[in-house]
């Protein structure tokens, strides 16, 4: 599979190479490899405990793989601390929404642009001209994103009081503020109702098309993954079970067994 794609001449945007993670005696991930190509929506699926979130946390550098490598545009990301992942174009959202609850929607999204800007405490305290210019630019960008995600009406509202679905969009807006090349979405459909999931799928596709992003979607909701992903990787017990188009993965006997269960599950 990988070799066939390499033969096509396009190098992957993100490459997961033989990644293993061991916690104590438990092997959470066991030699997982796959590639993400530019503009792809890659769905990462698997039953509970399959290692999806572990892999996700390796990508955002919260976990250090025991072996293997993760390459972004051909360069390993494993020597970077977590706060220096955003600057190379990897943005993320969190499983149960991890916003800054006491800040307004606008300020949440502005923090999202942190990695794109620079400042120091002296210039910030004195509001020097270059700081003001940079803030104006950030504000313009944030306004554009809020409009894109239909969040203008709540721009000055503190996020803790907003409904869950809106908070999820704020989180998406915050991730977009850094202009990521890859957007990592950790169970974006969690806690949403049927209609909201449908809207979300539409939105993710729109973001990919309008903003030229590549999306890694870690998701439980099969319907969502199968309807929007171009490529699906299925994990179970820390190992890659199957990889391919949604249809291929859906028809894979191992995947069916993992989901519907065999006798011992």
């Amino acid at each position: 599979m990988t070799q066939a794609q390499l033969a096509q001449g396009t190098s992957p945007l993100l490459a997961v190479r033989d990644v293993s993670v061991v916690f104590g005696g438990i092997i959470a991930l066991n030699g997982v490899s796959f590639d993400m190509r530019k503009g792809q929506i890659l769905g990462l699926i698997g039953p509970n405990g399959a290692g999806k979130t572990t892999l996700f946390n390796c990508l955002s550098r919260l976990y250090q793989p025991s072996s293997g490598d993760i390459l972004m545009e051909g360069v390993s990301i494993l020597s970077r601390p977590p706060h220096r992942i955003a600057e190379i174009g990897i943005g993320r959202t969190f499983q149960n929404v991890a916003l800054f609850p006491n800040l307004t929607v606008m300020d949440n999204v502005r923090v999202g642009a942190h990695s794109k800007t620079s400042s120091d405490i002296i210039s910030d305290s004195l509001r020097l001209a270059w700081v003001r210019r940079s803030e104006t630019e950030v504000n313009k960008k944030v306004q554009e994103i809020l409009a894109y995600l239909k969040l203008e009406d709540v721009a000055h509202t503190v996020v803790s009081g907003l409904p869950f679905g809106t908070q999820k969009r704020v989180e998406l807006a915050r991730a977009l503020a850094a202009d990521p090349k890859i957007l990592l979405l950790d169970e974006p459909a969690g806690g949403l109702n049927h209609e909201e999931v449908y809207v979300l799928g539409d939105l993710i596709r729109r973001i990919r098309d309008d903003r030229h992003m590549t999306v890694l979607l870690v998701e439980h909701h099969m319907g969502l993954v199968m309807s929007i992903a171009d490529h699906v990787v299925a994990l179970n017990f820390g190992k890659k079970l199957a990889e391919g188009t949604p249809a291929q993965v859906q028809a894979d006997p191992d995947v069916i067994k993992a989901y519907l269960g065999s006798k011992d599950q």
Binding site: D124, V154, S160, V199
Partner: protein, 338 residues
């Protein structure tokens, strides 16, 4: 698309928390400023001295507010930074004849370094554990200042006497009044810088860390750096307050800067409203005047009376002066409608 809009609109019908301002409106600010400018003309020197102390403590509470309200880190060690600032000024003025105004930025820089360094081990602690570590700092400081080998500079237990500066350019003004206006200018400048800071990219990084460290880090915020920076900034401002305090009181001694001072400042922050910068001055007024009021009510039981008053404040307005301000605003809004 209609589905999307329905979902969106359905959500917005729910009333969410409105934005809470961090500062006063322009109008209110100007009124407060005018009052602070004019008041000394009408009162005695002792009252002017008390007003100076009010501003100084206000500044120290503001510094704690940046640390706790801004970056979410607790500190019961602010008295240590205050002491370092006060001693820096006293030593520079008395041993090296440095101009009092010049000692302020020096004290600020020294305390920034001190706070930044202290912030490094503090990174591993949070919540009550951090409070305890800073508590240890506050307890140690008076003893460090009494150390024998420092005695030549610090005056040991005796402390140092600081000369009060005269008004410059032959201005017809008492020393107290000059010092008041000098302090006022410094405090206003630092207040403006602090508001700017909290509204800036750095301030948002502080608050992001306060609200969710992991998410802040995922957004590219260097959590360790900004946490120690917050400690440094808070220590620098507290140190400048300490410098001003040394000049105003004309005396520094180790036992003026015990844990009691740190707890008072903490109290001032809570009473003023955590995270609300203008509340700092209200909190300072509370810690300066309420003990006196308590003493007026009962000399023997002043501590108990103070406790009761404090309890009442916390019970009635748990969010401090900020809550009173919000209530006042709502009331004014209603009156205007009628």
């Amino acid at each position: 698309m209609s589905a999307a809009e329905e979902v969106v609109e359905g959500h917005q019908a729910v009333e969410a928390v409105p934005k809470r301002a961090m500062t006063l409106g322009t109008g209110t600010s100007l009124v407060v400023l005018a009052a602070l400018l004019i008041a000394p003309v009408f009162v005695k020197n002792f009252i002017i001295f008390q007003m100076t102390m009010l501003l100084i403590y206000g500044l120290a509470v503001l510094a704690l507010n940046i640390l706790t309200g801004g970056s979410g880190q607790f500190s019961l060690g602010q008295s240590a930074f205050y002491a370092v600032g006060a001693y820096t000024t006293a030593v520079l003025m008395e041993h090296f004849n440095v101009n009092y105004a010049l000692t302020l930025p020096i004290a600020g820089i020294v305390c920034f370094g001190f706070g930044f360094l202290f912030g490094q081990p503090a990174l591993r602690l949070s919540g009550v554990y951090l409070a305890l570590a800073t508590f240890a700092l506050a307890t140690a400081m008076p003893q460090l200042l009494k150390l024998n080998f420092l005695e030549h500079w610090t005056g040991g237990v005796q402390g140092l006497v600081v000369t009060k500066p005269d008004a410059p350019f032959g201005l017809p003004m008492s020393q107290d009044m000059w010092l008041y206006y000098f302090t006022l200018v410094v405090v206003i400048a630092i207040y403006i810088f602090s508001v700017n800071l909290l509204r800036s990219r750095s301030g948002r990084a502080f608050m992001a860390i306060r609200d969710n460290e992991i998410a802040a880090s995922a957004m590219g915020v260097d959590v360790a750096l900004y946490k120690t920076l917050a400690f440094g900034v808070s220590a620098a401002i507290t140190g400048i307050a300490g410098s001003l305090g040394a000049i105003a009181v004309q005396f520094v001694a180790p036992d003026s800067y015990t844990i009691t001072l740190a707890i008072s400042l903490f109290l001032g922050m809570v009473v003023g409203g955590v995270g609300w910068l203008p509340g700092s001055i209200v909190g300072a007024a509370f810690i300066i005047f309420v003990p006196n009021i308590a003493e007026g009510i009962s000399k023997g039981l002043s501590g108990a009376v103070f406790g009761v008053l404090l309890f009442l404040v916390i019970y009635l307005v748990p969010h401090g002066a900020r809550q009173v301000a919000i209530l006042g605003q709502q009331l004014a809004g209603k009156l205007r409608k009628n």
